[in-house]
Assembly symmetry: C2
């Protein structure tokens, strides 16, 4: 009930704000109208040439505002600017096909006045390349034929699952007895299945990833008798509920919805991304970015349960201030928000001040990772400890994977091969507030930056952890340690942590991957305050924290929910590993809360200060 009420309130407020935005004035002087370039709304004709021509004209203006009469506009790959980009956390299918291509602009507003921009095939709706002072407003981004599919569960029995697929939205074929989706210039084989509840539109508890159909499900065979029902035959270890919706994942993540590339002072507001071919908004080496009323949600009118193909707002190597305010996320097939840098590893010491380094994650290569004058730290890949730092004098790419980097001063003596480098210059302050994190695959917010982080006033119904603060140099290579985190006045509703995903150890999971962890390992993260939040846990784990020095969990309300059946392998409300200076105080603890216990590893009780927490016990 509570979560429903909060959701309704958010929807109402969102509608109100959007109406408010409608009446804002646009300076007439520099207005450029897309209709002057042959574009006709609702014509279904490719608008790309008109947009290119209009942007050319905008470039001549001082304060250009490109406006679209409200309507539907179709974007096709034909005539779109093609350019190769190495996009972070994205498959490097190149060139990228750019729908609205904004390159080298230093002031531009695009106001689509509530228009729908419909994309076709593998495309990147908006690309901002080396641009600044850019506003994009009032636009809906969608695909008629998305790069993710869904099906309704019609029947299940021993040995098979019958599903119905809307062929008009999700054209499919059976090829080599497997289900493959076909679209506008692509074919994608089914590779992952997510189950959504028909009524709540949430991911069914305990079904994350392979858990939906059970291990081995990929051995299924598909049969299409031609009556609109596809039969998937296999002795599935788990079967979805009849009537529920399976989101069927296929295809590479190869284009962001909006790509901010080496750009700054960008405002995105009143934007709904119903779908995209990869990360929703990917910000890469960009600066001062505001997202206000940016929604990544399923298109209910089309009966869809999924929105974007992967993450929502993804930040890789950004700086300045990131503000996420009043945004909504639901139906994403990966984390709604992910803020991180990219660790690179040392492959070779070339000289006393020169290294050969490598991008280790295949989806994050070819980045323009550093420039002269930038501040780099050197990190032990076993302990994740910083062992020194340096200032860049030059950066030289050898190929997409490797680069040479030279420093102003000599490198620390104890620098070893495979140690990591983190670019400290490109770390942002992050504020995420007043936002709604609905049911998405994986976690809610992933954040890793040494600058100030504020997560405040949000509502979480994440399927996995609501918040994950990780950091590692050995698997995802996403830097780095946090130093100042405030998690305040958020509402963590019962759906949080209903399925298992990587690193989802608790509703709030602070889990740096530190290969060598002992009682004496210095902390990787510092100064995290979790205060004045509401938690509605139905299961044990509320907080899992590893390698944190300075952790406050205070003035929170922990009210037990009975909405779901507990299942998590962790049976402690608080799991603390190798932490220092922990304060747990003044929290309201529901007497029926499961566990009410604190489990410690690689640390002693004396590191934990309990104040006014009589109900809590140590394991």
């Amino acid at each position: 009930m509570l979560q429903k009420a909060v959701y309704t309130l958010l929807v109402c407020l969102s509608a109100y704000w959007k109406v408010g935005a409608e009446i804002q004035q646009i300076p007439q002087a520099d207005t450029v109208k897309i209709s002057d370039f042959g574009a006709v709304p609702n014509s279904y004709v490719n608008i790309v040439p008109a947009v290119k021509a209009a942007l050319e004209v905008c470039k001549q203006k001082k304060n250009p505002v490109l406006v679209f009469p409200k309507g539907r506009y179709d974007f096709w790959p034909q005539y779109a600017v093609e350019k190769a980009y190495y996009e972070s956390n994205t498959t490097d299918n190149n060139p990228k096909c750019n729908g609205v291509f904004i390159e080298g602009f230093h002031r531009l507003t695009i106001d689509a006045r509530g228009s729908s921009f419909i994309f076709h095939g593998r495309m990147q709706p908006f690309t901002l390349d080396h641009s600044s002072s850019i506003t994009i407003r009032r636009v809906n981004i969608n695909w008629d034929i998305p790069l993710t599919a869904q099906a309704e569960v019609i029947d299940t029995a021993k040995g098979y699952i019958d599903i119905r697929i809307d062929k008009s939205q999700f054209p499919y074929i059976i090829e080599d007895k497997k289900l493959a989706f076909i679209g506008e210039g692509w074919k994608g084989k089914l590779k992952m299945v997510m189950e959504f509840d028909k009524v709540s539109h949430s991911i069914t508890p305990q079904t994350g990833d392979d858990a939906a159909l059970g291990n081995g499900w990929k051995n299924y065979t598909a049969l299409d008798p031609g009556n609109g029902i596809v039969r998937l035959s296999y002795d599935f270890l788990r079967k979805p509920r009849k009537g529920n919706i399976l989101v069927l994942r296929h295809n590479d993540r190869d284009h962001a919805g909006i790509f901010l590339f080496h750009s700054k002072n960008v405002l995105l507001e009143n934007i709904t991304i119903y779908h995209c071919a990869g990360l929703g908004v990917l910000s890469q080496f960009s600066e001062n970015l505001s997202f206000i009323h940016v929604d990544l949600i399923p298109d209910n009118n089309k009966g869809r349960f999924f929105s974007g193909h992967d993450d929502g707002l993804h930040f890789s190597g950004c700086k300045g201030k990131i503000l996420v305010d009043s945004c909504r996320f639901a139906g994403l097939m990966d984390d709604p928000i992910n803020v991180h840098g990219i660790y690179v590893n040392i492959i070779k010491k070339i000289a006393s001040n020169k290294l050969l380094c490598r991008f280790m994650e295949p989806m994050s290569i070819g980045l323009e990772w550093a420039r002269a004058g930038e501040h780099i730290s050197f990190v032990d890949n076993h302990s994740l400890q910083t062992i020194g730092d340096g200032i860049v004098s030059s950066f030289f790419p050898i190929n997409a994977s490797d680069f040479e980097i030279t420093f102003v001063n000599s490198l620390p003596q104890n620098l070893q091969l495979n140690f990591g480098l983190e670019n400290l210059t490109w770390t942002p302050e992050v504020t995420v507030q007043n936002s709604y994190f609905g049911s998405c695959r994986a976690r809610g917010i992933l954040v890793a930056t040494p600058q100030k982080i504020i997560i405040e006033g949000n509502t979480f119904e994440s399927s996995g952890s609501a918040i994950l603060i990780a950091g590692d140099i050995n698997s995802w290579y996403e830097s780095g340690g946090v130093k100042d985190v405030l998690i305040r006045k958020n509402n963590f509703l019962a759906p949080c942590l209903t399925s298992n995903y990587q690193f989802s150890e608790a509703i709030i999971s602070i889990f740096p991957e530190i290969p060598v962890l002992t009682n004496n390992t210095p902390a990787f993260h510092r100064n995290i305050r979790i205060v004045e939040n509401e938690f509605h846990p139905y299961d044990y784990p509320v907080l899992f924290a590893q390698s944190v020095d300075g952790l406050i969990f205070g003035n929170n309300c922990l009210q037990r929910s009975y909405d779901y059946k507990p299942f998590h392998r962790h049976k402690a409300t608080f799991s603390l590993i190798a932490c220092k200076n922990v304060i747990i105080k003044n929290n309201f603890i529901d007497m029926n809360l499961l566990g009410k216990n604190i489990n410690l590893h690689f640390m002693s009780k004396k590191e934990v200060k309990l104040l006014q927490q009589e109900k809590l016990t140590f394991d």
Copy 2:
């Protein structure tokens, strides 16, 4: 029964011939494989760049054969060569988007080995531009989302018709209460409806064009309650039968399926055109063209009742020999074969040997209509009589509609404004044999050329006239008078002339539009022999002939059919108007044949010789 048997035989023979073609040898030396250019069959990825690259390589070879491993290949507008063409009898939306673009080739074979070429949006699958000695073999041409739609009639009642549309093949919207179809870069409003019988796949008798739903049907309003059924509300004067299929026509005819432009010595064989965006094969100012086993038929596997958007094989201003052998036509939305030139009208006499002329039919403008040395006749636009001729010395286009033409000698004195010019040099010999003309909108064969015409051994189930020999200078501007026509050993089955279409006066309709017709008007057409054919008329009109000098109708068998209810406004077996030297002899006349009469206008009985035709009477 008979028609069924003939059809089956044709299908079997066709299959046999196609297998025969499979084992033909291709010279290895100059073989170019599309797979060497990155093309992967069944990948659904746009093959256009690979085809362009492969054709570049072919151009370097002496005897190039471009082969495709059998499979599906997708063609998208992206990267396709765009070029403006004025295509005859086609809407001039330009530029045209050319899938396989063959320009300036002087020897080339494309052997697709039975592959399916699937096109997307407004495209011209094959374009031959100023090329010669070209063979295209073993390819199927189709669209996933065609530019014609269809629907099943679910229910009818007073005031409405409920139809079901397969949204995956025929995406639609309701816009301003009207039905519009949307596809890959286009939107098309419903503008014509054809009813097909669910079982026989033939056009329902007496439903041609507006007759399907009755006059005024365009005042309908459409409603889509979202259950997959669209309700068309109006007090329709006629309703289709429940279960039948409505072919819903929309969209411009703006690209041919295969466009032969100023090309010669072209062989198309074993080609199936399941759909195209305009005329099936448009041959324009081309020479020596053979069509063997070229089918324009609906894709039964997709449940379709229509094939091409308009005509099948359309010839405008061609010369040399045209051979159509063993081809099949069904479900076309206009005439399967149309052979004609283009009359142009005199707008101004500029000098004693120089005229300003104009293309009068808006769909046939901008043609490169003549070259120095070509033979032109001058035609009175009232009587359609040739009043002289001349040899071109130069041709100069002023704009798309008008051109100046200069002659070697002075023009005839009696030449008047609005008289027509016919280019006699560009008139072809035509042979159409062993072919099947199934149920298509409009007529079977339209032919107008002064060269030899042979129509032999074909089977007709045309919805309108099986054969129309017209010619006019005032409405369609399609020249010209025939001089040598042999129509022999064809089988005109009962479905012929079951619906009304323009000029469909009888099963064979010879109907030049001559504005001023008297007993003394000299004949426009000459020397037409209709011999040894089988006719199965269920209605009166078998032959309608106007302005023919030298007409033989002999040794034919006229066997009455009872398959349909007679309806035609003409109540004569033979209608003869202003003809001379007519012989009707030795025909077998079924005693139950309707009419058995000869109706004369603007001519006397003495022009008609009846031999051994005791059953026939003059009205």
